[in-house]
Assembly symmetry: C2
Homo-oligomer: 407 residues x 2
């Protein structure tokens, strides 16, 4: 007898047979007496098909407003199909698109942020005994334009609805059965975690772990929404993402993450005056390009180098924005390197343990892997390395920190 | 320097290359200084794919609200793609879905009727020099549910917008280059008409001619919107549908239409009491099933037979509704025949000419075709015949009335 928000990703709704399996699971949970909101992604492959259409139509860089209109059609198909099936099974089920719920977002097309979720329509349907099927990934801005939240945005939709509805918990169904110490597709010694704290999950997501979208974990943490990461294809209870507590496993680190979707930008030999960082990064943030790691070398004879990473998909736009700025600032040149990746270790345990960083650097050095950039936070250490060493680095770190064994 | 509404059907937006051709045509018309609203159908095949998904998901008879959510995603793709291309070409172009324009309809899902079109958003965009690309076929009811207008509904969307915007004219681009004396795919002697009156066009559409949706012609007539039927793939000026005037061609009949999408229902030997027609037809109209031709035999010994036609797609639901009613009324049985078609001749000329009907019956008789039902209006005569005689009947009538030659 709870209010439950369930989210199913693209591979879980890839075809009618899989949607039917979800209908059965939803139906069971509903018949147990729970109030159900179901959030769906587009059928796997559908969003890619639409993105490809947008790119073919525009020769790259499609108009962003129209891009969102196009790709948001994907969830419209999956939600109506599930609602059709649930109705056929005798339930009352109603699909709602982003603008119908009124998932209000800012105006940052294809990377919009949820500002508010109106719960009136959803609550009303739940009170009437209905199952509400909500299109993930999409919202509407204050002017009525369709927006999308960016890849993985359906997780955020689900958690935001759970938060605003004050749901008992949110279940994220995906094609893996929980959060692992590292990507099990990359390393078969990866071990499933039973629980993980919001902060660790945030660090993992920020470090490239694909299991939950970063913003969704932020929201879950802010509103204290318990989130279960589970498999659509099994009954396994998955991993609970929740507040840090006594029951958490107590290893030094909890996981190793990697991110191949990074590119490195170096502004070489630029006059070291106040304001250079601002002049470089303001145009990027104005265009919703997220800068991740930033390193500025110590100044030498009034000149410095500035290195930072951006998402690889943004490198074209970054180049367009930065080339004139770098020239204008008197930099000798600007370099772009897409051939890198970022490997990170994450764990609340490192707060109270010394030598974690040096153990990481040593492990990489022992494998002959050169470290190009380093950044650290309280519970995460990230190294940028050559892209070809990604797999090797992940395996070596997983072994070095003994993640295969329960602590 | 006019306000023009252009509508392109599914085959005209079947792939990116075809949409690109439309973008070029729209761009040209815009650069000539015209204000442009473009209404699009879904890419050819897309709606069929979605309908098939709905049927597979439900095993037939999908929930009607959700069916509309599903199929309306088709136009969302075509309008955003065209808007992306127009933006790329340097135009300001904005796509609007049914609920965004606010095309208000009644609640009859998958067969909704447009009640009003709000023009504020469209007019505003036109004033800013924008090209507005509107999703055809869809609207929104008073409660915010997505509705669709039924097959061919995009024509109606276009004419409704043209009417409410007081556009100078509406161009319906399709895969034929105008209105013909009969279906040129069926008979190669069909001749293209330069002009045709609203009333004749209405009769042709009602008689099964697929070129324009009936409701769109009604609207055009009511609001006096001049409609050009043109080909997307040529520069031919097409056929103008307009008020009857002196310049119209003056043949006895203007065209021969046929409708294979009919089914015949006969309620046999029912006690002839007042109210039997109402008891039969009220449940049908309650379920938005349109009854076309109706014949009631002269009463014999207090009993009568009642025969009528409905659209073939509605026959399943009609059967479900009528079987219990017929039994309840004391009819001896009820027969359903899907193996029929309707052939019609249409023309304002027949108002002032006698012998047209008898010429039609004679022509069919000469070909050995048995007439099962007859109905007549001021400018149309329709005969229901065995489905297999459709082609033969159309050709014979086209020849008999000399339609191949300009009058």
């Amino acid at each position: 007898m709870a209010v439950i928000v369930q989210k199913y990703g693209g591979t879980s709704v890839a075809d009618l047979e899989k949607i039917r399996a979800i209908a059965r699971r939803v139906s069971r949970t509903r018949e147990d007496g729970n109030d159900m909101v179901v959030v769906l992604s587009a059928m796997a492959g559908e969003t890619d098909r639409l993105v490809q259409l947008a790119n073919s139509a525009s020769g790259g860089e499609p108009d962003r407003r129209e891009y969102d209109v196009l790709v948001s059609s994907g969830e419209q198909i999956s939600v109506s199909l599930l609602a059709i099936m649930l109705n056929k099974m005798g339930h009352r089920a109603v699909s709602l698109l982003g603008y119908q719920v009124r998932i209000l977002t800012d105006e940052a097309h294809s990377n919009a942020k949820i500002l508010d979720v109106e719960t009136g329509l959803i609550s009303g349907e739940l009170k009437r005994g209905g199952i509400v099927v909500v299109a993930g990934f999409q919202g509407v801005d204050g002017k009525g334009n369709i927006t999308t939240l960016g890849r993985g945005g359906s997780d955020t939709t689900a958690v935001a609805i759970a938060a605003c509805l004050k749901a008992d918990f949110c279940e994220i169904f995906t094609d893996v059965d929980g959060v692992y110490t590292t990507d099990p597709n990359l390393y078969d010694k990866a071990r499933k975690l039973k629980r993980i704290s919001y902060d660790e999950m945030l660090s993992l997501a920020g470090a490239g772990a694909k299991v939950l979208q970063h913003r969704s974990v932020e929201l879950a943490k802010t509103y204290g929404v318990p989130v279960y990461v589970r498999s659509s294809f099994s009954e396994d209870s998955g991993t609970l993402v929740t507040k840090e507590d006594e029951e958490m496993e107590r290893g030094v680190i909890s996981g190793v993450a990697y991110d191949r979707d990074q590119a490195k930008v170096t502004v070489v030999h630029v006059p070291d005056k106040p304001g250079i960082a601002g002049r470089l990064f303001t145009p990027l943030s104005d265009h919703n390009i997220v800068v991740d790691m930033i390193i500025q070398n110590a100044s030498s004879e009034g000149y410095t180098d500035l290195t930072f990473t951006v998402s690889r998909k943004d490198i074209g736009e970054a180049r367009r924005l930065l080339d004139p700025v770098a020239k204008d600032m008197g930099a000798s040149r600007i370099e772009y390197d897409e051939n890198i990746s970022k490997v990170s270790i994450v764990g609340v345990g490192m707060k109270s343990q010394s030598g974690v960083a040096s153990k990481m650097f040593e492990t990489l050095a022992n494998e002959g892997i050169n470290i190009l950039m380093i950044s650290t936070s309280e519970i995460k250490i990230s190294c940028v390395i050559g892209a070809k060493y990604t797999e090797l680095a992940v395996m070596a770190l997983h072994d070095a920190f003994g993640l295969e064994q329960e602590p």
